[in-house]
């Protein structure tokens, strides 16, 4: 008998329910209001009163309305068919809903129950298996989708029977497992998992070390993110957070892309809906949308579901990681999620922390970031979740609680600067304030020595130092005047301008420049180093800027041209000729 209850109080989307039996924290319940059933989650219990946050508008809910507790936490349904779906924050398939407007209490199936999948067994009858062991696989949009022993299974089992190769629906039994008491357990291609509980069915989570190529130079070269790494992008509005995130999700070397549009503009989600089905994935030749799942909880959708949306996204990511895939998870924006927490905490009349955010905000954020990571699965394969979130700091001030809490949790920090955005230096990632902790990881150094060269990290640091010196010099020039400083100051400043223009800045709308492969980035860094390591002779400071403007122009033209094409060598030769004037050989 499940627990029932009645509505006892309503404050916006917080409802107080008097329950007649046991209730657990985070349990799901349904409030019957007229003909609709509204889904809600228990967030506080006091005596008989359960405080529930309703995932919908509570308009019309009355005292005494019946409530039914579901006996489980908020769950997602896992199985083939998740890719290329557009979900809301509670994993309802938005495409299955009728009409232009969302209807309250309209919950749709996240998968396609009638659809047949071609199943190929991977395990054998008699094998000993445990949670997350691979039983077989189906092709989901050309991606190998592993059918696993449900994550909820504890201990080890032996396979009593396993379906042969053939077409099955997600609800067909594909295996029967025997537990240690010889009890039979049927397994289908679908399973459920509570979103707030991490899936830990892996053997080990080492420190991540493998560079995740994104094709964005200011990330890959200067502040790299790694497979299974975490990063965040704070920036004031208009600084290009969403554009940068979209660029990363389009280009990064990941098998699966999950985008959580959390409390942001609906038209931005529409942009993904419109663009991603058109974009071709260079490696597979298929459309990007085929390996993407979008969780859309836009800013006008219910606030409580906004909080759920990031957890839903993370759980889907963990599911695909268990299949040995590289998952890229993007959340835009985690500030909206924090604000959803604040609204609830406020209605619960909790004592507030800084800026009225809940006191446990830092803990909630770091727990969430901790679910990302690189893993060795129990069968020795690897899988990863790389997580990049954006933060929308109030007033563009990076000293606010969400930014500060995230800074403690994420290992890469990509600060978008208003000043850079104003002067159209895109991507507006500030190369000096931003950092990647992975550059300091010995594991990463070892990997990059192998993959590129053992001077790479030193070179990157040299370039960064030059940027810093350039900035200091620029300040001095501004104070003392152009002719109040030695010419050498201008040279230092212009060397840093070369780095800024050629490495940091990248044209997101140019077909060639928008995606810069690592091989090219190595080449660009080498050329840049040759230029900043050389000595120059100039008569006046005006000559300095004139000369370096030409250098920058050629190097930009090179960036715009197809790698090692005819035009590329043409510009490279022009650059070489220009450098010859100063007796410099290009690397």
């Amino acid at each position: 008998m499940s627990t029932k209850g009645r509505v006892h109080g309503i404050i916006a989307n917080l409802v107080i329910v008097q329950a007649d039996g046991p209730v657990s924290q985070n349990e799901i319940c349904f409030i019957t209001s007229g003909a609709t059933r509204l889904m809600a989650e228990v967030i506080k219990i006091n005596g008989q009163n359960a405080y529930v946050q309703v995932f919908e508008s509570t308009r019309g809910v009355k005292i005494g309305n019946e409530v039914e507790f579901a006996g489980h936490m908020l769950e997602v349904t896992l199985g083939p068919g998740i890719l290329s779906k557009n979900y809301d924050g509670l994993q309802n398939d938005l495409d299955k809903m009728d009409g232009v407007f969302l209807k309250r209490g309209d919950y749709t199936h996240p998968l396609d129950p009638g659809k047949k999948w071609h199943f190929k067994p991977l395990a054998h009858v008699g094998d000993t298996v445990e949670a997350a062991s691979w039983l077989g696989e189906v092709q989901e949009n050309a991606m190998p989708h592993k059918i696993m022993v449900p994550f909820t299974f504890k201990g080890s089992y032996s396979i009593k029977s396993l379906a042969g190769e053939g077409d099955y629906t997600i609800d067909d039994t594909i295996a029967v497992l025997l537990d240690s008491n010889q009890q039979e357990h049927k397994v289908s291609m679908t399973q459920k998992w509570p979103v707030k509980v991490p899936i830990t069915a892996y053997r080990e989570k080492p420190r991540p070390f493998k560079l995740l190529e994104t094709g964005v130079r200011t990330l890959d070269t200067l502040n790299p993110i790694v497979e299974g790494g975490t990063g965040f992008i704070p920036g004031p509005f208009g600084a290009g957070k969403t554009v940068l995130q979209h660029a990363i999700s389009k280009q990064a070397e990941a098998d699966i892309v999950i985008v959580a549009a959390c409390g942001e503009r609906a038209n931005e989600v529409v942009e993904i809906f419109t663009e991603f089905p058109e974009l071709e994935d260079k490696r597979t030749g298929r459309k990007l949308m085929e390996r993407t799942t979008i969780i859309a909880n836009t800013s006008n959708m219910p606030v409580a579901a906004r909080e759920a949306s990031v957890y839903t996204a993370m759980t889907l990511a963990e599911y695909y990681r268990s299949m040995g895939l590289r998952v890229l998870l993007m959340a835009d924006s985690t500030s909206r999620w924090a604000q959803a927490l604040r609204e609830m905490s406020n209605r619960l009349e909790e004592l507030p922390g800084p800026d009225a955010f809940p006191m446990d905000l830092p803990a909630i954020i770091s727990n969430f970031y901790a679910r990302a990571g690189y893993t060795y699965l129990k069968n020795g394969k690897t899988g990863s979740i790389t997580f990049i979130g954006t933060v929308s700091p109030a007033g563009g001030n990076l000293k606010e609680p969400v930014t500060e809490s995230t800074k403690k949790a994420a290992r890469c920090f990509y600060a978008l600067s208003q000043q850079r955005a104003d002067s159209k230096r895109y991507p507006a990632v500030d190369p000096i304030d931003s950092y990647s902790k992975y550059l300091e990881y010995p594991e990463f150094a070892e990997y990059i020595n192998e993959r590129i060269s053992d001077t790479w990290i030193d070179n990157v640091n040299e370039v960064k130092t030059m940027l810093q010196r350039g900035k200091e010099t620029y300040d001095q020039i501004n104070i003392l005047g152009d002719d109040g400083v030695p010419i050498e100051y201008h040279v230092v400043y212009w060397k840093s301008e070369v780095i800024d223009s050629v490495i940091c800045q990248q044209d997101g709308f140019d077909k060639i420049d928008q995606n810069c492969p690592m091989e090219r980035q190595e080449n660009i860094l080498q050329n840049t180093l040759s230029i900043i390591r050389s000595n120059y002779q100039f008569e006046t400071f005006i000559d300095v800027s004139a000369y370096f403007k030409k250098v920058i122009n050629f190097m930009k033209q090179i960036n715009y041209t197809e790698f090692q094409s005819e035009g590329y060598y043409k510009f490279e030769n022009e650059l070489k000729a220009l450098l010859k004037e100063q007796n410099i050989d290009l690397g």
Partner: protein
Amino acid sequence: METKAFQKIYTKITQITKATCSLNATGVGNEELAMVNGKLAQVVKIIGDTVTLQVFGGTEGIPTNAEVTFLGKAPTLKVSDQLAGRFFNAYGDPIDGGPAVEGHEIEIGGPSVNPVRRKQPSELIATGIAGIDLNNTLVSGQKIPFFADPDQPYNQVMAMVALRAKADKIILGGMGLTNDDYLFYKNVFDNAGALDRIISFVNTTDNPPVERLLVPDMALTAAEYFAVQKNESVLVLLTDMTLYADALSIVSNRMDQIPSKDSMPGSLYSDLAKIYEKAVQFPAGGSITIIAVTTLSGGDITHAIPDNTGYITEGQLFLRRDTDIGKVIVDPFRSLSRLKQLVISKKTREDHAGVMSAAIRLFADAANAKTKQENGFDLTEYDERTLKFARDYSNRLLAIDVNVEIDEMIDTGWELFSKHFNKEEVGIKQTLVDKYWKNN
């Protein structure tokens, strides 16, 4: 609403604050309307049998034995074609002396559009103002505010935009409008002979502030009727959203909620987003475009209201007085229309994007030259030319009194380039320069 044979009347109010009152009642739904002593109120909180009502007209003069009746419904608006040309108050009651509107009664603040059913906005909205059309083109289905200081002529610019935009319906949501501004809008619309396509919901400074909270929902409910049922393009003008947010903070304060930044309620972002996200391009062709006004105090855009707004809207427009020409211009540096790239050089001439960026860059050069001049440094010959260009550019393109077609704006751009610069200095793609450069 079906008539009830018996409507229970409550007469015992247990608590009264400046904006709310509480009483014991049963069978009441959340967000339901009630009449308290003849004033409209809405349920905002129910605990057991204690119901808290937000009284829109303010609680002045309400006695503890006031008559309270519940209406069994959330705020509604009767929608039909009869709305066109009419002026209403925040409750949707006519204030122009005309008869009540008959039509289908629907609840305001209705559900959101399913994001997968939205279409990407792609229709350009021409306003004739070059600072907008040339530099920050508006697109149907967009939401964009003017960030303006209270002394700037934003109401005039909005009225101008509304009349020139080729929208099927224009809906004005006035919040805390002074009576003078209300009459201004009324006269402008009247004189333009455009009254039949204009609908106004107005809360003036004479009315209680909490009433304002109904205005955007009323305006947008009417907008949805015309955009969804009639497939019309609807332009919604909301002025002034800062006063709307102030009303939100008054209510949350009276309900003892903990304020977050700048004494605003913690839910400010969601509250504003619910309004602005009603801007949409529907698949069947109708659209809702929102142009709003957010007044700033001392130009501070880091204040919670403009800050949250900036994260929600698709860009913002800044007005500024250009002292060199003595006119108000649309600031090309701080203004931004995020959707402009969906139409620029796609729905407009191929050289639009190039001319726009080149002109802004040269205008920035002029700004630098000006700083140099003010700091007492010598100006180069190029600096002198940029300054001359800036004056012409302000006068002939940025000023808000400009009213021309987009092609003419682009042509004017080329004309100014060739007057003050040579081809290399402009830095536009060679093929376009060859085609459009004006040889004088």
